[in-house]
Structures are given as structure tokens and as C-alpha cells.
Homo-oligomer: 193 residues x 2
């Protein structure tokens, strides 16, 4: 279980056996069946979570009970609600498993401890946040610049692995369009080629 996380870490930073052990000791394994929740709206999120297997989504539910997918995450990605974690406020989001999944959870406190005692780990975490910011800014740029078809094309280019394994109606939601619209776009796009 931990092996995958260890490999991920070692591909990014240098870690002594002892440091690796420190990390292992604070990891808690969490398995989820398809459709099970990792986090429900209203809960407070207190972890950092690394996915070793599977696929999850973060989504919000609006007044009209419509779901809006904010994010997908698969193996070797982090997931969680940074807002709730940072502010200690109840989450406005839900996270559930799209496939049977396995995660490693590290509590906020333990995570802070690791960052303090392992500088490379701290640097890695900072880098990840920077990268997430850049990625999400790109998404904002796309959402205000592109039409529905262009958004879909960019999505496939940027995240082909995800495009292949999540249901189409969730992709539509992620892109801010209806499933019907995405279905028609796909039909048109395939004709063009």
C-alpha cells in the first residue's frame, strides 16, 4: 500500500530510510468502494490524502440539487478540501469514489510535523500547491475564453487518462455544460476528423 506512495515521493525528493519511515508511520490506509464518500458537505476535512489506487471526484451541489464537478483525481494525485482544511470550516463540497479506491491519509497535525522535520517534503508540498494554482488558473482562463467544444478538446488534451475513465456526464459537469451538449459536441467533433 505504502509502496506506491514511497515510490512517488522518491521520484520527487531524496529521502533517507528513516525519513521514509517517519512518513509511513503517520499514514492511514483508507479503502473506498465505488460511490462511497470520502467527504460529505458539512464535514470538516482534516487530512491530506494521497491516492494509491482508483479515481475520485470533488463536487458541489447547488440550490437546484445539481451536481458540479470541481475536480477529478487518480493514482499519484492528492485530494481533499483545502478550504476546509485551511480554515477549519465545514466543507461545501463532497468527495466520492468513482472507482474502488485506496488512499493514504495523513492528519493535518502529522502532516505539519513532517513538513517541519523534512525540508524536502516541505518544498515538495509547496511545489504541489504552486502547480495546482497554475493548473486551476489555466482552467479559469479556459472557462472564460473558450466555447463548449474548445473546452472539451482542451480537456482531452490535458487529461486524457481521466477522460478515458470517468463517465461522460461527469466530464460535462466538470466543463460546465449539460450532458446533452457534450454528447452533441462529441458527435460533431468526430465527424470533423
Amino acid at each position: 500500500m505504502f509502496e506506491i506512495f514511497a515510490q512517488y515521493l522518491q521520484s520527487k525528493i531524496e529521502l533517507s530510510d528513516q525519513e521514509l519511515k517517519m512518513i509511513e508511520e503517520v499514514c492511514v490506509v483508507r479503502k473506498l468502494r465505488r460511490n462511497q464518500y470520502l467527504l460529505q458537505e458539512g464535514d470538516i476535512w482534516r487530512y491530506n490524502a494521497f491516492i494509491t489506487k482508483g479515481c475520485l471526484r470533488t463536487y458541489s451541489v447547488d440550490d437546484r440539487s445539481m451536481e458540479h464537478v470541481l475536480n477529478f483525481a487518480i493514482e499519484n494525485y492528492w485530494i481533499g478540501d483545502r478550504e476546509s482544511l485551511l480554515n477549519g470550516t465545514p466543507s461545501r463540497f463532497n468527495i466520492d469514489a468513482i472507482e474502488d479506491s485506496t488512499l493514504l491519509l495523513i492528519s493535518k497535525e502529522n502532516f505539519a510535523g513532517l513538513m517541519k522535520s523534512i525540508p524536502q517534503f516541505q518544498d515538495l508540498v509547496n511545489l504541489i500547491i504552486e502547480r495546482s494554482f497554475v493548473a486551476i488558473q489555466d482552467r479559469i482562463n479556459n472557462s472564460i475564453s473558450l466555447n463548449a467544444e474548445e473546452k472539451y478538446i482542451r480537456f482531452i488534451e490535458k487529461q486524457p487518462q481521466i477522460a478515458l475513465r470517468v463517465p461522460q456526464h461527469m466530464i460535462a459537469s466538470y466543463l460546465g455544460m449539460t450532458p446533452e451538449t457534450l454528447s452533441r459536441i462529441r458527435k460533431q467533433s468526430s465527424k470533423k476528423q
Copy 2:
């Protein structure tokens, strides 16, 4: 000039006189007249910039020469292109002054030095990035969940200071709608009250 930045820093973290001086020494003042560029597409951005006076915007330009505003920033905010700074790649964005403005620039190298030698500064920077991420995620959520009128209302609620000082057509661009649409929405909204 530096006074405003010093106050900002001291309101967030504890700093000795010596530490404050270290920071001051690496700050470079940059004044911009209205409409002047801080960064142009294709340039590489190598700083962290703090605004002590004025108002700026970050925007992209698409194939059809349409401008799309990604961000506004005013006094006591940071601005720059994190993507270009992080990756060392040419910027895809432009940043220019909406009002006559004054900024303090700290080069990437000096900034890294400050973070190394002043742990509280490091913490502050991390916190800012975390917060930016949360804010931008909220914007994504709005952009996929809300219609044009709702987006505008949220924007005024969240950023009233900015709503009052930037031209309406730039707000429209920021919200991903045409100026005409925003104009009509404002008319309708004002009738409702």
C-alpha cells in the same frame, strides 16, 4: 513607499527590525502610469510583486484578439505570473495598470533567500498561496454553477472594492460575459430591488 509593505507584513507576522531591513533591501520600487504594462505576453516573469498603490489586471488575449481578464489586484495584494515564475517559461498573459500604480518587486532569487532566512515569511507566503488556491477554486465553482446574473452578484459581494474602481467592460470580461450582457444584467438587477 516601503512603509505600506512593512505595515502589511507586520500585520501578518512578527518581524525583527533586522529582518524587516533584510526585506527592504531587496525591494525595488516600480511605478506605472495608467495603461502601462508590468508584463507582456512572451516575457518571462522573474519577480514577486506587491502593490502599494493603484490597481492592475492580468489578462490573456485569444485567437480573435479578445481580451480575457484573469485577475484584478489592488493595494496590499500580490500580483505576477506564477506560471512563468515557476516554470521559467514565456508568459501567456499580460499585466497592465488600470490606475497609476506603485509596486515593490522582489526578484525570484532574493525572494527565495528571504523565505530561507525568515521562517515566518515562508509561512506567510505558503498561507497566501493556499488562500489564492481556495479563492480561485471558489471562482471555478461559480463559473460552472452560476448563470451570468448570479456570477455578477457574487462578484460584487466578494470584491466590492474592486467592483467600484474598474471599468465595467473589464468586469464583464473577468466574469466571462460580454459588456452588453453585463449592462443588461445590471439594469434588471437594479429594477428588482
